[in-house]
């Protein structure tokens, strides 16, 4: 039991930014995603404040009616948000966003299930059902808005042809979609506001193969190749992603079938890495391939 003093100290913590959920891969294998996003949000005056003692959300949603155990992981993170006296949580990874949002949707509205979970997690404070999950793109569009993002640009991405790859989890199922399910444009809008040319392509919401990479790598390579091919044929020189697994699968496909002429020298990058470059991040902090591409498009350091 917490004393009233402890409660006050924990609940009223002054936050300058927004509670942020990294997810299992953003600390090592996908660290570029996090560092670039933090750079962007610092510049925009809304720093990402990492949750304390967060745990893996589960990456995928458990879809059976009777399984509450696999929602525990997400709910525990909601309690952490509550502990801060906050009610919103922003995720970068599209899979984390989707898993957290689907669980929030279910547990926030079902008092009986919430009660069961609270009883089971008897070493945590009760989850009250009020946490909302946001994806960074939603924060950028609705809290920052595109004009303010554009105003922070120091190195326009003009000349860059970006295919925005949404994959599955940002746009399906509809209750958690951050934009239109079939023709989303939110990531395109973000990149256009920093000067890039958005290249629509047919496979922008087709699955990369996701977890099939574990035991059926052939399937994820095939799926991801279709995405790469579609983007390349549409004329893109960069594919922007929002998910470490999409990023991984696309990179693997590129590595494996990169000799195919139609793919050209297409690069794959997290959308926040492009935004960060436009907002003045040192190019040396970006992957080699992207550095080259950006330098090609006359991005001179230090000049606007």
């Amino acid at each position: 039991m917490l004393s009233w003093q402890d409660s006050g100290r924990r609940r009223g913590r002054l936050m300058t930014g927004i509670p942020y959920f990294p997810g299992c891969s953003l600390k090592d294998t996908a660290s570029g995603f996090e560092t670039s996003a933090q750079y962007v949000m610092e510049k925009l005056g809304m720093p990402l404040e990492e949750l304390e003692r967060w745990n893996c959300c589960g990456t995928v949603s458990s879809l059976t009616t009777d399984d509450l155990m696999h929602h525990l992981a997400s709910v525990r993170n909601f309690v952490r948000v509550q502990d801060l006296g906050q009610s919103e949580l922003v995720a970068l990874c599209a899979m984390c966003y989707n898993t957290l949002a689907r669980t929030a949707g279910r547990i926030n509205t079902d008092a009986e299930e919430r009660d069961k979970i609270n009883q089971f997690m008897d070493r945590e404070e009760d989850y009250e059902g009020n946490v909302q999950i946001l994806h960074l793109l939603q924060v950028l569009k609705e809290r920052v808005n595109w004009e303010n993002l554009e105003a922070q640009v120091t190195h326009s991405l003009e000349g860059l042809k970006v295919a925005c790859y949404y994959g599955c989890t940002l746009v399906r199922p509809k209750p958690v979609a951050i934009d239109d399910t079939e023709q989303p444009t939110i990531m395109d809008e973000a990149l256009e506001s920093v000067g890039a040319e958005s290249i629509p392509f047919a496979f922008s919401t087709e699955c990369c193969g996701t977890y099939q990479v574990v035991d059926r790598r052939d399937l994820s390579i095939e799926q991801s190749f279709r995405v790469l091919n579609s983007a390349a044929r549409a004329g893109a020189n960069v594919i922007a992603t929002a998910c470490p697994l999409c990023q991984h699968n696309l990179e693997e496909a590129l590595r494996e079938v990169g000799t195919k002429a139609e793919l050209g020298s297409i690069q794959i990058v997290y959308f926040t890495e492009l935004l960060a470059a436009a907002l003045g991040m040192d190019l040396e902090e970006l992957p080699e391939g992207i550095q080259q591409l950006l330098k090609q498009h006359a991005m001179v350091e230090g000049g606007a």
């Binding site: 891969s25 990456t59 059976t64 009616t65 193969g209 574990v214 399937l219």
Partner: protein, 132 residues
């Protein structure tokens, strides 16, 4: 007498409907799910055939690879004109196996080299969908 690790074929449709919360008879076999499924060509029966098999209680469905090839991308769910969530049906079919300790991925057989190449997100997701 030791434990039997086998999926029972009894009341297949009822058990799948209970686990998934979906009603298989809402499907009128339009084929939208199959048309949109990115992995349909790898499946031994189409997504719309999976739900047909459930309607007819064709127990050979339990040996299909469809549920294991499914990537839970939800293209089917989002396009079904009757609002049937086929992804949940696929999940129910997987769970019938996984809850009987019939894991589809053997962690014991994975090499360190294989694991080294995969980001955590892939392992967590793959294990959640294919191990019990």
């Amino acid at each position: 007498m030791s434990k039997t690790k086998a999926v029972s074929a009894e009341n297949l449709r009822a058990r799948v409907e209970e686990l998934s919360g979906e009603s298989v008879f809402a499907c009128y076999q339009c084929g939208m799910c199959s048309a949109g499924c990115p992995l349909a060509d790898e499946m031994d029966r189409l997504p719309s055939q999976v739900i047909r098999d459930l309607q007819l209680e064709d127990i050979s469905l339990l040996d299909s690879n469809a549920m294991w090839v499914c990537a839970s991308c939800l293209a089917c769910e989002v396009r079904c004109p009757k609002g049937v969530d086929l992804a949940k049906l696929m999940e129910a079919l997987r769970q019938l196996h996984l809850r009987k300790e019939l894991d589809h991925v053997s962690i014991n057989d994975m090499t360190q080299e294989e694991i080294r190449k995969l980001p955590q997100i892939a392992l967590v997701a793959g294990f959640r969908k294919k191990t019990g």
